[in-house]
């Protein structure tokens, strides 16, 4: 399923890794993210990690939205 929820890598064994999504765990393949390390977040699809999430970018995006939300009065996307 094409969902955007990040899975945290908590164990790596060869071409497999154990990931955690909000407490639920699953063993997935990491063939396509050979550079993955513990505590990385990945997106998974059909049992494979497809990409390592770039946390800076993700956090930047999160921060941006958080600020927008908090700035209730400001007009939304007036730009």
């Amino acid at each position: 399923m094409c969902v955007g929820v990040p899975a945290k890598v908590i164990k790596i064994e060869g071409e497999k890794a154990l990931v955690d999504v909000m407490g639920a765990k699953m063993t997935i393949g990491i063939l396509f993210v050979p550079e993955v390390t513990l505590n990385n977040y990945v997106l998974i699809h059909a049992g494979q990690a497809m990409v390592i999430i770039e946390e800076e970018y993700a956090n930047a995006s999160i921060k941006e939205w958080r600020e927008l939300l908090d700035a209730r009065d400001k007009d939304f996307f007036t730009s």
Binding site: M1, C2, V3, V21, G23, A24, M26, I44
Partner: protein, 335 residues
């Protein structure tokens, strides 16, 4: 007793007798009744509720319970949500040749223990043993009879604005079973919610006014249960998506597998429709009980109609979408 159930245990002869004596009668304590072809008990007064369910869960043992406990809680809950005080159960066992006697004993003991918790007696039983491959391990049917007292539910009084309350988080049983099955590789610490709700629900009926109707959630999940309710009683319900309590881990598992928690099985949850004036009191009573501590107001009765009612979900953007029954099986999806 032998280590495994053999066909001879099911032929009605010596070994059947032994099995009944040593496993069932010992746990259920219905020896006196078992002398007769049918158990004889005094009638209640007023009305009685009768329900039947067969239990075919795989795996037989799972975090939070086993098929035996489930066979009691499931039937007890069907009685309880009808407004009845569950009184007696019957138990029908269909067992595969070669089934370990120790597992059977564990299952039967769980049933006896849960029956005691729920305050019901198991008064009649039946055992069939079938050829290997003719059944997967063990199936159990339980049929329950309950007494409906003076203070009853009142579906006829349901009206627009009535509160829809759920007694706790949804989908726990479904995910517990799925991880116990170890087939899809999912690992969780989720326990099945499997529990007898009769004490809790009977208490609600006694201590509050204005409970219209209740339903326990099982296969098909919250969505299917409420769709049925809407159709059966010609009411339309609007659920508030963001209010529906879901355990984080259940949500995580759903994200991974592409499941919708609204359709996951539950075995210890009920929805209650109650006069909105009593909603707080109901919630308060629920919160004070172990099996109701996560009870939440999740929606309202939106309208009453002549035709079959509809279930709708209010989304975060304030639109609604209609929810239908689970159509087909719950399957992991890629899109």
């Amino acid at each position: 007793m032998a280590g495994r159930i053999s066909l001879a245990h099911g032929e009605g002869g010596e070994l059947t007798h032994q099995l009944i004596q040593e496993v069932f009668i010992q746990s259920f304590g219905h020896g006196e009744q078992a002398r007769l072809d049918a158990a004889v008990i005094p009638c209640f007064s007023g009305k009685m509720a009768v329900t039947t369910d067969s239990y075919v869960v795989d795996p037989l043992f799972f975090p939070g319970g086993n098929i035996g406990k489930l066979a009691v809680t499931g039937t007890v809950n069907d009685l309880a949500v009808t407004g009845a005080v569950p009184k007696v159960l019957t138990a029908g066992f269909m067992i595969e040749e070669g089934f370990p006697v120790s597992d059977l004993k564990k299952i039967v003991k769980s049933m006896a223990a849960e029956a005691e918790t729920a305050g019901v007696s198991i008064i009649a039983g039946d055992t069939k043993v079938v050829e290997r491959g003719s059944v997967d391990g063990i199936f159990i049917n339980t049929t329950g009879i309950g007494a409906i007292g003076e203070k009853d539910l009142n579906p006829a009084a349901v009206k627009k604005g009535d509160a829809v309350i759920i007694t706790g988080t949804i989908g726990d049983h479904g995910i517990a079973i799925l991880s116990a099955r170890q087939q899809l590789g999912l690992l969780t610490d989720i326990k099945s919610d499997c529990a007898s709700l009769n004490t809790l629900l009977n208490q609600l009926i006694q201590q509050t006014e204005g409970i219209r109707v209740m339903r326990d959630l099982t296969r098909g999940g919250l969505a299917t249960g409420l769709v049925e309710l809407c159709e059966d009683f010609s009411i339309s319900i609007e659920l508030n998506e963001t209010s529906i309590p879901v355990h984080e881990e259940v949500e995580g598992a759903c994200e991974i597998l592409g499941f919708d928690p609204l359709y996951l099985a539950n075995e210890g949850k009920a929805v209650i429709i109650v006069d909105s004036k009593e909603a707080d009191k109901v919630l308060q009573l629920l919160h004070s009980h172990e099996f109701g501590k996560n009870a939440t107001l999740i929606g309202l009765v939106a309208s009453i109609s002549e035709k079959a009612g509809k279930l709708k979900l209010k989304t975060p953007v304030n639109t609604t979408r209609r929810l239908t029954r689970l159509s087909g099986m719950l399957l992991p999806r890629i899109c």
